[in-house]
């Protein structure tokens, strides 16, 4: 019976936990770092049925007190090193991008936009899906870094 029970538990996990893990195109969506040190990574998941190509671009952004965000070229005070800036990901596979960030002033923040597109088209429109990974870096502790930046720099309190 033990084996039978375990079998059902595993089948249950495969049926219901597996699909949940596959639900997003990028993970984590947000990363917080403390003590000015950033040695992070994010994973792009290809949930399509064919291989895709991914190109990573880095940007700075700001948010006004109403919550509207504006994206711009990466600030020169933020230095980012990526292990790779593009990849091809097989159907239902995933790829991890590693990065290091060094900021001249803290706190700092930025975003990586992963633009995902499918096979080459000779005629018509090439569709691109963009999913972001955002990082926040604080001088003090990691926990609550995003909230402190939202309150201190963006004056967002909701």
């Amino acid at each position: 019976m033990t084996r039978e029970l375990l079998k059902h538990v595993y089948v249950f996990l495969l049926l219901f936990v597996g699909p949940a893990l596959q639900a997003q195109g990028i993970a984590p969506i947000i990363s917080e770092y403390g003590h000015g040190k950033v040695n992070g990574s994010f994973t792009v998941m290809n949930n399509f049925l064919e291989p895709v190509s991914v190109v990573i671009q880095k940007y700075s952004f700001s948010v006004n007190p109403e919550g509207k965000s504006t994206i711009r070229q990466l600030d020169p005070s933020i230095h980012i090193e990526l292990d790779s800036m593009s990849a091809r990901i097989g159907a239902k596979q995933q790829h991890e991008f590693a990065y290091k960030v060094k900021c001249d002033t803290l706190p700092c923040w930025g975003t990586f936009n992963a633009s995902i597109s499918g096979a080459h088209v000779s005629n018509g429109i090439g569709l691109v899906m963009i999913v972001p990974h955002t990082f926040y870096v604080c001088q003090d502790k990691q926990t609550g870094c995003r909230d402190r930046i939202r309150h201190g720099a963006f004056h967002l309190y909701k």
Partner: protein, 499 residues
Amino acid sequence: MTARPLFPFLLLLLALMSTSQAQFIELKGGDSSLFDAGGGGVVLHFPNTTETFGAGIAGGHLQFGASSAFDWNQWHLTAGDDYLGLTVGTGLAVPLRGLTGERKWKKQTLTVFSGAAGQFYSFPYFSATSVNHFGTGVLYQSKLPHGLEFSTMAVHVGSQYTAIGALHYLWKELDASGAVGLLQSQPFGNGSISYKPIKSLSFFATRQNYFFDVQQALTAGTSSSLVQEESTISSVGGSANLRGLSLSASTLTGTSGANQVSGQTFGGAIHPGPLAITSNYYRSAHGGSLTSAFTEKLTRRWSVSQFLLYSQGKWSLNYGGSFTSNRLTTSVGYITSFVPDSPGVSPFQQTISVSMTWQLPHSTTVTLATNTLPNGAVRWSTYGNSYARGPLQFGDVAGQSRIDETTLTAKFIIRGIVNDLSGTPVAGAAILVGKETAFTDSDGTFFVRFRKKNAVPIKVVAGDFRAPGNWHVISAPDMVTPEPQDKASVVNIVVSQVV
């Protein structure tokens, strides 16, 4: 040969004939002593329909399945194998073979079914259904105001009735769900509630009914029958997070037939720097057992673990860990399960698991896993799947699906820029550098990192550009040499779009 054994082969023949028309083809196969099943399946994705075929040996018998899913008017129809699933409060699924129709409105979903019902075999590598009774059923789900969600399912299979009503309520930090009714003509009741009064404190209470069809040998090695057994697990507990220290406690009660067991768990976890320390104490009528795990994240890819176990007066130390890369993910760890039907031994049972998953070229993934059960028996599973564009064009246009394994520690780099004849940067150009395919960003730039300073060939793969249109190469070098990152020159490539 009777008509029944012929049927799976006819299905396979139909699947093979259909591949020539399919837009995408998914192939999968595997074998497992843990699941006691081996087989394979094909999923064919057409523009308007999805066809699924599966066949294999499960529990010593040949099982097969096939289905075709398509839209008709405002209904989503499935002809063949499907299941009627009531997820709210139950996680219940009734396996079916026949015609299933689903209609969705803004806040309501209605599913109706008619055909036959039986047993469902679902594995990572094939799905099959064995049916033995006529069945018909209906499932209705509705989202109500004030965070309420109502679901009801009524199914008639053979001489047995299933009629269940379920309610889910979500309000701020309170999450409650419950289901009551008849499951295969037997009383059934499930419920769970969780509440988080403050951010660092949470409580929960659950009661779950489980029904299992257990293969029971009548005479050793000759014949067997399916016997339905019921287990009920109830648990109450809570957890608190105090300045990085997580504490949890729960009490569990399980009944399975005449066997009744209970136990308590107490746990703690702390994450000082790259270290994660978790410790759990499990108490039952058969004594206490302690499981402590010390996990250290050595690098982004590597972590090592030590597992300290105390059970039945004995201490043991085991080692595990994990390695994660873009090509291979492997881990060795321990899982503690609460198993109510375990007479004479502790209901808390430790299982050692080892798993390896490879992401291979051409959209192929292979997994190998072993599980050492509490009685020492080793069970293994191996399975894989692959995706192709129909008709059976595997992988990518350029045939390069290699997964980049460079790291930030790679000292050398090749940088480049792709422009058109007017000097405008070309975004999405595909450049094969050595064995890696790089794509340019919106500035037309690309880079690839290397561990060694060996010259590599460089090639523009016009047929793989992300940018639409037909492209040809005006100028590009044949070979390039990686250089140190701070001294790397820029490789210039010029392409032109054919109008």
